[in-house]
């Protein structure tokens, strides 16, 4: 078994001139980086970590935008044998106070000893340097050791064992930042090997094109580690550029003959609805062999929209695929077969809702189209269980649990969370689904997580923020997601109880909630509903019942 650093060394020796990454930024020329340049750049950061006295096995927090520095510092931390964790960058709309609070809470659990940041971010990063804090140094990207030939014998990463933790993966928000998924070399490399087989990865011919941020598991694993470690060329654009100009993704695929892309479901709708033909002149999408829909519930309608819009530009049939993935299994759990379109299973809606059985619709009754997330990867076992942990037969809906040789080592420094999630070597996903003919259909969530545009959002974080707004009753807020068909993703709803019955005063409070939550979480709220006393449904133990409130909201306001 090998490690990340061994693979980097091999690439340095065997394919130094092959293009590893092409970085794209709107308004600038593309920057190609060869494997040699990648490792030379990484080595500068590894030497800087030595200079700063950072020890192997310590966590290094990377707070950087898409670009060369993020790329080099990530691999440099690996070459040094330290553990990189990428944290989302502070955006202009997020309040600095809230960002600082989130950073402090991540630091208190993850205990990084260094932060790597850009000079513009120095003040924010330095706010973490308080006495008693584990962070010993803030390394700025303009103060990095000069380039020199890597001396692999002295790089600490070369001494790492496959069982060592190689990186941490956090999801967003206060709750997500407190749960870092710790992954070993062994786990990541097992995943990459198995997943590569499932998609028949060909390093000679494949080109990955991505706009996904690297603090997201799909961005980090499928669209960064997979191409770099498997020696596939990666074309990487900034998420900020893509969201303002989604056609850039298609132009890049055409320009670089891209073959593989991973997208959350909403991006299929976003591209289909927002791209104008005039931006697609001479665009040829025939090189694309798989666009893999992953990280939020998959919808056949989203694929149809995308295919209808882009088949005129050479998009081949069977290109749109699905995957079921989670950071706790490194990435993929199931993957659709690339030689055919994902299986669509039409089931009886009412029988599914009331009896949890996925049966074909009886004549004249409403059906529901379920798109398969594919078949389990060769190294991953899937079981569907009831609330007592008993196995359920095919076509019966239950909780999905997973076991593999690529599971997380732990939630970093969180034995409580690790113990709650892993039982007898099986990871309880908190997702509901069923299997049929070897295909996995994911149908919902046991956990209250909201997934917006592929990003996991914990409702308790949003509720806590809404509670901070003056006029809102303490503890009387509820947040949940409702699926928006046009957007192809969930939209966030917040309901808050207030004293005032005055509509104008209620509107002022609703506005204040919208502003405060957006500013503190960078999550845009679609509906903010201010209601009178006792509207919110609580359980007998006083906890907020999110699903009951969601049903009530849909009944009263959204039908």
């Amino acid at each position: 078994m090998t490690t990340f650093s061994n693979l980097l060394q091999n690439s340095f020796l065997e394919v130094p001139e092959k293009t590893s990454i092409i970085l794209q930024n709107a308004g600038q020329a593309d920057t190609p980086i060869t494997f040699r340049q990648l490792i030379l750049g990484a080595n500068r950061y590894a030497l800087t970590l030595v200079r700063e006295g950072i020890k192997p096995g310590e966590v290094v927090l990377l707070i950087l935008q898409h670009g060369e520095d993020l790329t080099f510092s990530f691999w440099g931390t690996v070459l040094h044998g330290a553990i990189p964790a990428i944290m989302p960058f502070l955006t202009e709309k997020l309040s600095p106070e809230k960002y600082r609070a989130d950073l402090a809470s991540l630091i208190s659990i993850t205990k990084p000893t260094a932060i790597i940041a850009s000079p513009e971010f120095e003040a924010e990063a330095r706010s973490a340097l308080i006495p008693g804090n584990p962070v010993r140094t803030v390394i700025l990207t303009n103060n990095i050791e000069p380039e020199s030939n890597p001396d692999f014998n002295s790089l600490n990463g070369m001494k790492a064992s496959p069982q060592d933790i190689v990186l941490l993966q956090h999801s967003s928000g206060t709750t997500g930042l407190q749960k870092g998924v710790a992954l070993s070399h062994h786990a990541v490399l097992n995943q990459l090997e198995t997943y590569s087989q499932a998609i028949q990865l060909d390093p000679e011919k494949d080109v990955v094109v991505s706009w996904l941020p690297l603090y997201h598991d799909m961005g980090l694993i499928a669209c960064f580690l997979l191409p770099v470690l498997m020696r596939v060329t990666l074309v990487e654009m900034s998420p900020f550029d893509w969201v303002r100009a989604p056609y850039r993704l298609l132009q890049s695929v055409s320009q670089y003959k891209g073959t593989l892309t991973w997208l959350p479901n909403f991006a299929f709708n976003f591209c289909a609805n927002k791209i104008r033909e005039r931006n697609l002149e001479d665009v040829d999408l025939s090189s694309w062999r798989a666009i893999i829909n992953c990280s939020e519930p998959v919808h056949a309608e989203s694929h149809q929209l995308f295919a209808q819009k882009f088949s005129a530009f050479g998009l081949r049939s069977h290109t749109l695929q699905t995957c079921y993935a989670m950071a706790e299994n490194v990435f993929g759990v199931a993957q659709s077969r690339l030689d055919q379109s994902p299986v669509v299973d039409e089931i009886d809606r009412e029988i599914f809702m009331t009896q949890r059985l996925a049966t074909p619709p009886t004549a004249g009754r409403p059906g529901m189209k379920m798109m398969s997330s594919g078949q389990s990867l060769a190294n991953t076992k899937i079981r569907i269980v009831d609330e007592n942990g008993n196995d359920l037969p095919e076509r019966v809906m239950g909780e999905i649990k997973v076991q593999s040789d690529c599971m997380l080592t732990e939630y970093y420094n969180r034995p409580d969370a690790t113990e709650a999630a892993i039982k007898n070597g099986w990871y309880l996903t908190g997702d509901y689904g069923y299997t049929a003919n070897g295909e996995l259909y994911v149908s919902g969530r046991k956990k209250d997580m909201i997934i917006v545009g592929g990003k996991n959002v914990y409702p308790q974080d949003l509720e806590a923020l809404a509670n901070e707004v003056p006029g809102v009753h303490a503890g009387r807020t509820v947040a949940f997601g409702i699926y928006d068909e046009e957007a192809g993703t969930e939209e966030v709803v917040i309901i808050a109880e207030v004293d005032s019955e005055e509509p104008s005063e209620q509107e002022v409070i609703a506005d204040a909630i919208r502003k405060h939550v957006t500013k503190s979480s960078a999550i845009a709220l679609r509906h903010v509903k201010v209601v009178g006393e006792k509207w919110i449904v609580k359980t007998s133990s006083g906890k907020t019942a999110r699903s009951a409130n969601k049903e009530k909201f849909i009944r009263e306001f959204n039908s």
Binding site: A26, D241, R244, K515, K519
Partner: protein
């Protein structure tokens, strides 16, 4: 002209982006830096401006440095008409 542009933009943002038709958006209210218009909706705004005023706003200009309120946006539109 500018006031007309501002009210057309305000109406579009309130109705189509925020889905709160009754919301009053003042001419100097921060739109982007405040998070009122999220990044996914900026594109809708750019496409609306193109269709309504026959003026192109490049995607690289969709940020708070180029415009952050309706007055600035209306000036930008006027300067290109």
């Amino acid at each position: 002209m500018t006031t007309e542009t501002i009210s057309t933009l305000a109406k579009f943002i309130a109705e189509k982006i925020l889905k709160q038709p009754n919301k009053v958006i003042t001419a100097d209210e921060a739109l982007i830096s405040s998070g009122l218009i999220d990044s996914f909706s900026l594109m809708d705004l750019a496409l609306f401006i193109e269709d309504t005023f026959n003026v192109r706003i490049e995607d690289t200009e969709l940020n708070a440095q180029t415009f952050d309120n309706l007055t600035q946006l209306a000036q930008l539109i006027a300067s290109r008409q």
